[in-house]
């Protein structure tokens, strides 16, 4: 994400409410008391109340939106939930004609393509974060950071377009044969390789989640106090030892958070994956083989789903996707918050 405040985040000091401590009561408690007094005596008390209410309404509409999404997803998937129960997530057949729906192939496809993406993107993102933070010459730093964040601004469908016409042929003609030759014995890379499949989906997802992981882990690494770095350097550590001992160790929680945020994005990504994964509900070990993900099956079949049960099954898939991404994002946010909050407390 290109958050405008990301670069400046550490400089923003959160205004601290004056503490009514005994020692410095006079200088710090006074403004607050004056403000309260003025606000209470203000001519616009009623207008103030109304304004506050309006702002609050808008803020609470965020709760309402989330609640409404959950409500419609649960309500509209009742038919499928009652028909299949928990078996829905264990069934492997997806047959709209006979009305038999099982989501396991889609869950498998989603998990495998996302994990593949994370496995490719994490080492690269961390290396780039370290490069930009410590190695890169100053004049190059901001252009490269801007370029990597530009990747985040490219829409999913454009990634898909590029992948269909450029990445797929490369994976089929150049990368595929090499992997098959050297790693074919593992069973993960078995011909025939048409270029569209799980591996290509993983690669395009990796390119898409790279900017998120890289920019957030750069921020949490930046949050490590300078004193920690200097202490390590003063003990004679090389740059790598300093990074390992003071930077990576102190920011590991936030880095894990960044990785999980990237994973959350990969799990829900729709368009680019739909265009290159092959869209075939199989559970195969072979990464060259086509797969299908939760998001892709919704994108492909939702608007032409005939019959209430079919539609309901697709909405249940949406519900599952929603719940999984909510949990993954909540964990990631808590981890990132834990780190950055500790940092702001350390500054104060």
């Amino acid at each position: 994400m290109m958050q405008p405040g990301l670069d400046k985040l550490p400089e923003i000091t959160v205004p601290v409410e004056p503490q009514p401590s005994a020692a410095d009561a006079a200088p710090s408690a006074a403004p607050s008391a004056i403000r309260l007094f003025l606000q209470q005596r203000s001519a616009g008390r009623w207008a103030d109340g109304a304004f506050r209410g309006l702002m609050m309404l808008c803020a609470f509409s965020i709760f309402a939106i989330v609640a409404l999404i959950v409500f419609v997803l649960v309500k509209n998937s009742q038919l499928s939930i009652h028909a299949f129960g928990f078996k829905f997530f264990k069934g492997t057949s997806w047959d709209p004609v006979s009305g038999d729906f099982g989501a396991l192939p889609f869950i498998y496809g989603t998990v495998v393509s996302s994990l593949l993406a994370v496995a490719i993107a994490v080492p690269l993102s961390l290396c780039v974060a370290i490069f930009l933070l410590d190695i890169c010459p100053r004049p190059l730093r901001s252009p490269i950071a801007f370029l990597t964040e530009l990747l985040a601004a490219i829409p999913s469908v454009v990634y898909g377009l590029w992948a269909v016409f450029i990445l797929v042929p490369i994976m089929r003609d150049n990368v595929g044969p090499i992997l098959e030759k050297y790693l074919g014995w593992t069973g993960f890379f078995v011909e025939p390789n048409f270029g569209v499949g799980m591996l290509t989906a993983g690669v395009i997802l990796a390119i898409m989640i790279f900017p998120i992981i890289s920019s957030i882990s750069r921020d949490v690494m930046k949050a490590v106090p300078i004193a920690q770095r200097e202490a390590a350097l003063a003990l004679g550590a090389t740059r790598w030892e300093m990074l390992r001992m003071s930077v990576l160790r102190n920011s590991r929680l936030g880095i894990v958070g960044a990785i999980i945020l990237g994973l959350g994005r990969a799990l829900g990504e729709t368009m680019a994956v739909t265009m290159v994964i092959g869209n075939h509900p199989d559970i195969l070990k072979n990464l060259f083989a086509p797969g299908y993900t939760l998001a892709s099956v919704i994108a492909n079949e939702f608007s032409e789903a005939s019959g209430d049960l079919y539609l309901s099954a697709l909405i249940e898939i949406g519900l599952a996707l929603f719940l999984v991404t909510i949990v993954v994002n909540a964990i990631a946010r808590l981890l990132v918050w834990a780190v950055t909050r500790g940092e702001s407390a350390g500054h104060a």
């Binding site: 403004p31 403000r35 419609v72 370290i130 601004a153 829409p155 469908v157 729709t270 996707l321």
Partner: protein
Amino acid sequence: MSGTRTTRTANMNRLHELRRSAVNHFVTGLAVFSTVLVLVPLVAIVGYLLYKGASSLNLAFFIHVPAPVGEPGGGMANAIMGSAVILALASSIGIPIGIAAGVYLAEYGRGRHLGNLVRFTADVLNGVPSIVMGIAAYSLIVAKQHHFSGFAGGVALAIMMVPTITRTTEEMLATVPHAIREAALGLGIPKWRTVLSISLRTASPGIITGCMLAFARVAGETAPLLFTAFGNQFTSFDMTQPIAALPLQIYVYAVSPYDEWHRLAWAGALVLIAMIMGAVTLVRIFSNRGALQGGH
């Protein structure tokens, strides 16, 4: 005896030093290599877009509607118009709600549990997959109306804009010094006027940045429009009916088997990217000019 031991330790020390410095250089090299590796797809994507898109971009693309299969020519005029209408609707719903929620968080909800809860919910909403947003808009609006509509698409995009705008507005308001607010209150200005004319005004460059970023993000969204706006081969401004959108059209053309349509898809992608990059560049200009920098 003791002399040889010292030399041996010295040698081991030297070896150890060498290994440490080798590891250091190796990691440095790895970091440089990875950065280059990551820049390759970026350059490849932008390069191919420019190469493929520019060669198939012409005036007809902007003023004609799609031609039937097999006929050369045609353009995406309807899709560009449709996108503009949908995005205008999304912005006019999403921006006011997002800014107001940000104002609540920064001016009223600071340090309260309720405020933290809103903040957390906004962050989580930000991570909800866009396709799920599409299902929600479908169930709430399309299923009730019994047909696809541009309105449903606009609402889905508006919901996606809210969390980004809320969080940036809050962050930017937090940089406004308290003394300025207190000065306004001291002049007898009511709090609501203080928020509107002092706080929001001081933070406006940053808030505009947030709005543009949210806009840039939803401008390229395809998944929520698949079964809300649905797409349309003809020019239409009727928000209660299916309407064309640029990302949707790119998707349909990209997965089609016709070369002529592939050409149009590349041209469409170039126009879309140009729009988004334009917004991002404006953001850079806005956020660098007149922003409040460390005014404490």
